[in-house]
C-alpha cells in the first residue's frame, strides 16, 4: 500500500482507537471490578489488571439479590412494550408516510414531535395520580402502558421515515393495479420490505423499557415486580453509599448482557434502519 493511502488510514484508525477507548473504558472498568479480589477494589492508585481473577462475585450475586426475578420482570415488561410499540408505530407510521397530506396525519406528526420536546419529568406527578386512580401503580400494566406511551411517538417517527424512504410509492401503485387492497399492501409488501426499520424500532423500544429507571422507581413499591434497573439499587444504602461495589459491577455486567446480545445479533438491522432516509437519493 502506498504511503498516500497509509497515512489517512492511520489517522482514521487512530481516531477510532481513541474514541473506542473513551467509550469502552467505563465498561472495561465495570467488568474488571466484577472480577477483582475484594482487597483490590478500593486500592489507590487502582489496579488496571487484577492480580488474581476472582469469579466468586458471579456466584454470590445470585444469593445476594433475586436477580433472576428482577431480570425476568425486565424481560416481560420490555418484550410487551416492544410488541405494543412496534404494532402501533408501524400502523401509525405507515399511515402518516402514505397520507401525509391529510389533516389528521399532519397534526399527528406535529403532536408527536411536540411530545418529544416536553421533558419527561414534567408531567410526572399528574401522570402518577392518573395511574394511581386507574389502579395501575404497582402493576406490570402500569409500567408497560407508560413505556409504550413514551416509546410510541419516537418509534412512529422512526418507522415513518423508513416507510417514506425505503418503499417506493410506485411499488404500491403496481400492487394496487394488480388488485391488492391497502391492508394487503401494508401486510404483504410494506411490512416485509421494512423489516430492518421494524427491527431497529423494536430494539429502540426494548432498550428504552429495559433501561428505564425513574418511572419504575416511583410507581413500584412491590419488590416482586421490580425490574433489574431498579433491583440493582438494592446495593445502595442509607446514605447513598455503596458498600459492595464489586457485586454491583457484577450485577451491572449481567444486566447489560441481554442488551449486548440483542445488539450483536441485530445491529445490521439497527444501522440500516436508523440510516434509512438520512440521505435523499
Amino acid at each position: 500500500m502506498s504511503s498516500k493511502k497509509i497515512k489517512p488510514a492511520l489517522k482514521h484508525y487512530a481516531v477510532m482507537a481513541v474514541t473506542s477507548v473513551f467509550v469502552l473504558l467505563p465498561f472495561y472498568w465495570m467488568v474488571i471490578t466484577s472480577i477483582k479480589p475484594s482487597n483490590e477494589v478500593m486500592l489507590s492508585p487502582p489496579t488496571y489488571f487484577p492480580k488474581v481473577l476472582n469469579i466468586q462475585n458471579y456466584i454470590d450475586v445470585w444469593s445476594t439479590l433475586p436477580l433472576l426475578k428482577y431480570m425476568s420482570n425486565s424481560l416481560f415488561v420490555s418484550v410487551m412494550t416492544t410488541i405494543i410499540c412496534v404494532a402501533l408505530a408501524t400502523l401509525c407510521g405507515y399511515s402518516i408516510s402514505r397520507f401525509s397530506n391529510r389533516r389528521l396525519q399532519k397534526s399527528s406528526v406535529v403532536l408527536m414531535l411536540l411530545s418529544q420536546l416536553i421533558p419527561g419529568v414534567l408531567p410526572f406527578i399528574s401522570f402518577y395520580f392518573i395511574m394511581f386512580n386507574l389502579n395501575l401503580t404497582n402493576t406490570y400494566a402500569g409500567l408497560i402502558i407508560a413505556y409504550s406511551m413514551w416509546g410510541i411517538p419516537f418509534c412512529t417517527l422512526m418507522i415513518k421515515s423508513y416507510f417514506t424512504s425505503a418503499i417506493p410509492v410506485s411499488l404500491e401503485e403496481s400492487a394496487t393495479i394488480d388488485g391488492c387492497t391497502r391492508f394487503g399492501i401494508f401486510f404483504r409488501i410494506a411490512l416485509p420490505i421494512s423489516l430492518p426499520g421494524i427491527v431497529a424500532t423494536a430494539i429502540f423500544s426494548f432498550i428504552l423499557a429495559w433501561n428505564e429507571f425513574m418511572w419504575a422507581s416511583v410507581i413500584l413499591s412491590n419488590n416482586d415486580l421490580k425490574p433489574a434497573s431498579i433491583g440493582i439499587y438494592d446495593y445502595i444504602g442509607q446514605f447513598g453509599g455503596n458498600s459492595n461495589m464489586a457485586l454491583t459491577m457484577t450485577t451491572s455486567v449481567l444486566i447489560t448482557l441481554p442488551a449486548i446480545i440483542l445488539f450483536a445479533f441485530l445491529q445490521k438491522y439497527l444501522i440500516s434502519g436508523l440510516t434509512a432516509g438520512a440521505v435523499k437519493g
Binding site: S38, N39, V41, M42, L43, S44, S63, T64, L65, P66, F76, M80, I83, I84, A87, Y128, F129, F132, N135, T137, N138, T139, Y140, A141, I144, T181, R182, F183, G184, S217, V218, S221, N222, N223, D224, L225, I230, Y233, D234, Y235, I236, G237, Q238, F239, G240, G241, S243, N244, M245, A246
Partner: protein
C-alpha cells in the same frame, strides 16, 4: 373484502391488548393491597377475610439479602402468632421521600411505614392522609422507653405519630496504623487537637500537594450541612431555639463552626481541596489509604470497610468526635419512627405489627442484622453495643449529640439538598464566600420558610 380485513385487524389488536393486560393481572394480584385503601375507613375489617397489611421500610445494611431474610423471618413469625400477613416492601433511599410525600398527598400509601421528617409528613397529610396518632401504642410500650432524640422525632403536638426505632449518630473514624506511625496515642478531643493530629498525619509530595490527608469531613455529593450541624453543636451553638420557632445560628458559635468547616482545608491544609468535589467519597479515600481520619461516619461504615477493603481489618477504630472545648455536644443524632398511616384499612392489625416490630427482642435482632443503632434505651443497653469496640464509641457519642433534624414541618424544605438554605449556606462558605453575609442570607430564607 376490505371490511373483513379491517375487522380482522381490529380483532387482532384488541386480542393482543387483552392478552397483555390479562398477563399483567398476576402483577396486580400480587401487588400491595393499598390501592383500595384510600376509600375504606381506617380500622374497619371483616373478620372472615384474611388480614393483610403492607409495610414499607427503607434499605439498611450492606447486604441486601440480610434485610430480606430478617423481614421474611419476622413477618412469618408475626403471621404465625397473629394470623396477620405483612407484605413488606424495601424502598430505596433515592425514592423514599418521593414515595412518602405521595403517600401523604393522596397517592399510594402503605398501612405501616418507616418514616422520617415526621412533622413535615403530618402537615402534608392533613386530616386525611399521613401518619396517624398512636398514643395508645406508645403508652402500652412505655413512653419513657426511648432516648430524647427518638421522642423528639415521633412525638409532635402532644401526640405520638410513630414508635421510634432506628437511631443514628456520627463518630470519628481513624486509621490506627497511621496513628501508631505518627506516635499518636489517643484520638483528639478538641478542635485544636484535631488540627494538630491532622497535621501530623498529613503527608505531602515535593510540590506540597497532599498525598495523604489528615482529615476529611464525612459527606456525600459535597453535602456538608450535617458535618456543620455537628460542628455547630460542638461550638456550643444550636440551629433553632428550644421551642423550634426561629433559627439561632447567627451567633459566634455559628461563625466559629463555619470557619472551622472551611479552615481545615483553607488554613490548616489537613484536608484535600477536592473534598468539595461531588464525586469525592471520604470513606472510599480512607479505604484507599489516602485519608487518616474521617469526621462524622455512621455505624455502617465498619461493614463497608471490611467488605471493600479487607486489608484494613483491625487497622481502624472509632472515637467520640472532638468538640471545640473537648466537652459537651460534638455530634448529631437522628431517629426514625415506625408509623401507621391514616389510610390503613386495618388499624388494629397495623398497630399490632408496630408493637411486634418495635419490641426489644426484634429491635436488637434488627440492629445486629442491619448494623443500626437503636432509639430504645433497653436495646442500646445490651452488651452487644457496650462491649463492642467499634459500637461503644457510638453509645458514648449518643450522650453528646444534638438533634440532626429539627421537628418542624418545614424542615424538609429548609434542609433540602442542594437548594435549601442550610445546605446552600455550607456550600457558599466552603466555596469561600463571606461567612456573615452567607449566614444573614440563610437566616432570611429560613425565616421566610417558617412563615
Amino acid at each position: 373484502m376490505k371490511k373483513v380485513v379491517r375487522l380482522i385487524g381490529v380483532i387482532l389488536a384488541v386480542t393482543m391488548m387483552v392478552a397483555v393486560f390479562t398477563a399483567c393481572g398476576s402483577g396486580q394480584q400480587s401487588s400491595d393491597s393499598t390501592q383500595a385503601q384510600n376509600t375504606s375507613s381506617a380500622g374497619s375489617t371483616n373478620s372472615n377475610e384474611p388480614r393483610e397489611i403492607s409495610f414499607w421500610i427503607q434499605k439498611y445494611g450492606s447486604d441486601p439479602a440480610a434485610q430480606e431474610t430478617l423481614l421474611k423471618e419476622m413477618t412469618a413469625d408475626f403471621e404465625s402468632k397473629t394470623g396477620i400477613k405483612v407484605k413488606y416492601s424495601i424502598v430505596d433511599w433515592g425514592q423514599a421521600l418521593n414515595k412518602l410525600t405521595l403517600a401523604c398527598t393522596g397517592g399510594e400509601a402503605p398501612d405501616v411505614a418507616d418514616i422520617f421528617f415526621t412533622a413535615s409528613l403530618i402537615q402534608m397529610g392533613g386530616d386525611k392522609y399521613g401518619p396517624m396518632e398512636i398514643d395508645d401504642v406508645a403508652k402500652e410500650m412505655g413512653e419513657d422507653s426511648w432516648f430524647q432524640a427518638g421522642k423528639d422525632e415521633a412525638y409532635q403536638n402532644g401526640h405520638w405519630y410513630g414508635i421510634p426505632w432506628r437511631f443514628d449518630t456520627r463518630v470519628l473514624l481513624y486509621n490506627t496504623e497511621y496513628f501508631k506511625e505518627a506516635g499518636i496515642t489517643s484520638a483528639p478531643k478538641t478542635w485544636d487537637e484535631l488540627v494538630s493530629v491532622g497535621k501530623k498525619l498529613t503527608k505531602t509530595d515535593a510540590k506540597g500537594n497532599i498525598t495523604r490527608a489528615g482529615l476529611a469531613w464525612f459527606n456525600m455529593m459535597a453535602r456538608f450541612d450535617q458535618t456543620w450541624f455537628s460542628l455547630l453543636g460542638g461550638a456550643g451553638g444550636s440551629l433553632m431555639d428550644a421551642e423550634f420557632k426561629s433559627p439561632t445560628f447567627n451567633t459566634q458559635a455559628g461563625i466559629d463552626s463555619l470557619t472551622f468547616l472551611r479552615d481545615v482545608n483553607e488554613k490548616y491544609k489537613i484536608a484535600v481541596p477536592n473534598m468539595v468535589d461531588p464525586s469525592y467519597d471520604p470513606v472510599a479515600e480512607f479505604m484507599a489509604g489516602k485519608v487518616a481520619m474521617v469526621f462524622g461516619v455512621t455505624a455502617e461504615t465498619k461493614n463497608n470497610i471490611e467488605q471493600q477493603a479487607p486489608q484494613l481489618k483491625d487497622k481502624f477504630a472509632s472515637a467520640v468526635m472532638p468538640s471545640k472545648s473537648g466537652e459537651g455536644a460534638s455530634s448529631i443524632a437522628f431517629s426514625a419512627p415506625i408509623a401507621v398511616f391514616k389510610t390503613t384499612k386495618d388499624a388494629d392489625a397495623s398497630k399490632q405489627w408496630v408493637k411486634y416490630f418495635c419490641n426489644t427482642e426484634n429491635q436488637l435482632k434488627a440492629s445486629k442484622t442491619l448494623s443500626l443503632l437503636n432509639s430504645s434505651k433497653a436495646v442500646m443497653s445490651d452488651s452487644y453495643f457496650s462491649q463492642d469496640a467499634w459500637l461503644s464509641a457510638f453509645v458514648n457519642q449518643s450522650d453528646r449529640a444534638v438533634a440532626g433534624d429539627m421537628p418542624i414541618a418545614q424542615w424538609s424544605q429548609i434542609d433540602a439538598w442542594p437548594n435549601g438554605p442550610l445546605p446552600t449556606l455550607c456550600t457558599e462558605v466552603i466555596a469561600g464566600k463571606d461567612i456573615q453575609q452567607s449566614i444573614d442570607k440563610s437566616i432570611k430564607e429560613f425565616e421566610n420558610l417558617m412563615k
